[in-house]
Symmetry: C2
Subunit: 207 residues, 2 copies
């Protein structure tokens, strides 16, 4: 079964709302309630849930616990996945600190840099390795995902090394577009573009 990309994203978002609701003591939720928590419609929610093959007790809404579990079955790997942050500057540190706080199936277990003043330091409990040890550490620690926060001018080169080290997923925060082979999943977040888009729509409102 192959899920639409947007559906995958929304499932991740739904899950957090659902967990929140559980904490508040709720046990069930209607599609229109979940829709309202996101900027979304009830049909969209039902369609997404249909994709993952979950069906609710009619008229009672979705069972929060069950739905969270089904989403987990879809999104999570049994034993979690290991993640490395490459380039532990301002952004890399913020991201590392943020994620290490969360208990989740995604574990940031190593960071890499070339700056000798950073190497061997521990940030939020995660050790910083020299980039030269990338291959070795990635293999030893079974890291499959990298978060790229190196300066723009080394992005391409470091990416080649990551591919070489057999990384399978890459989240790119640098503002240079990267090329990876088709078996590596790449997600890029270009902050400049995002801001420029906001600016465009502020300047030229659409309605």
């Amino acid at each position: 079964m192959t899920l639409p990309e947007r559906t995958v994203e929304r499932l991740s978002e739904y899950r957090r709302s659902l967990l929140q609701c559980l904490e508040e003591g709720k046990t069930h939720i209607f599609s229109h309630e979940l829709a309202e928590l996101h900027h979304n419609t009830a049909v969209q929610v039902r369609r997404d849930i249909m994709f993952i093959g979950y069906t609710s007790m009619q008229r009672k809404g979705y069972d929060l616990r069950e739905l969270v579990d089904v989403i987990g079955d879809i999104l999570d790997s049994e034993r979690g996945l290991n993640v490395a942050v490459i380039g532990i500057g301002n952004l890399g540190r913020a991201v590392t600190t943020y994620f290490v706080g969360k208990r989740s199936k995604l574990n940031i277990i190593a960071t890499f840099d070339v700056d000798t003043t950073k190497i061997d330091r521990v940030i939020s409990g995660v050790k910083c390795y020299p980039l030269s040890r990338l291959n070795e550490v990635v293999k030893a620690q079974q890291i499959s995902i990298a978060i790229l926060t190196v300066p723009a001018d080394s992005a391409a080169e470091v990416t080649a090394q990551l591919v070489e080290a057999d990384i399978k997923g890459l989240m790119n925060f640098t503002t240079v577009p990267l090329n990876v082979p088709p078996d590596v999943y790449l997600d890029e977040f270009d902050m400049i573009t995002s801001l420029e888009k906001v600016a465009y729509f502020v300047k030229s409102p659409q309605n």
Copy 2:
């Protein structure tokens, strides 16, 4: 004329590549060259350029300088737009430092926080104001865009204040979905979702 959202994003990306090419002394670029710099096709590039009504000298490729200017006419506001960062913690500081380095039409000119140890401090040349002065400063400095990097549990409340202060564009980095009136443009970047999506596609490759 109303541009597809994805086209707006790509134009922003193209522009940076074009400027890069200009610096390297090039004067023209073919659609397939530009496509190759992004992960993109020549048709897509031409289609995007068609949307903005620019047409090249046939067979010579696009004139870099002209194309950059046309994209600027579309994306930029004449006098630039003023931006504030709300919540000057790890991420807020990284973003502020990053953007202040760039000369661009988007000027981060104020930051806001509630932590008294941060208020009145200057980060990368930008002063931090108490959130209580939001309305006043936003009006005085004609700030139209906000970057939201406050803790999740204050996101909704702060957003209401931003809307009240008549902010017209909002880039949300918190991982809670926000509700804003239709005349406020909202872009959300949910880092958890992005990473979970990468993890999903690593776990379940699509081909």
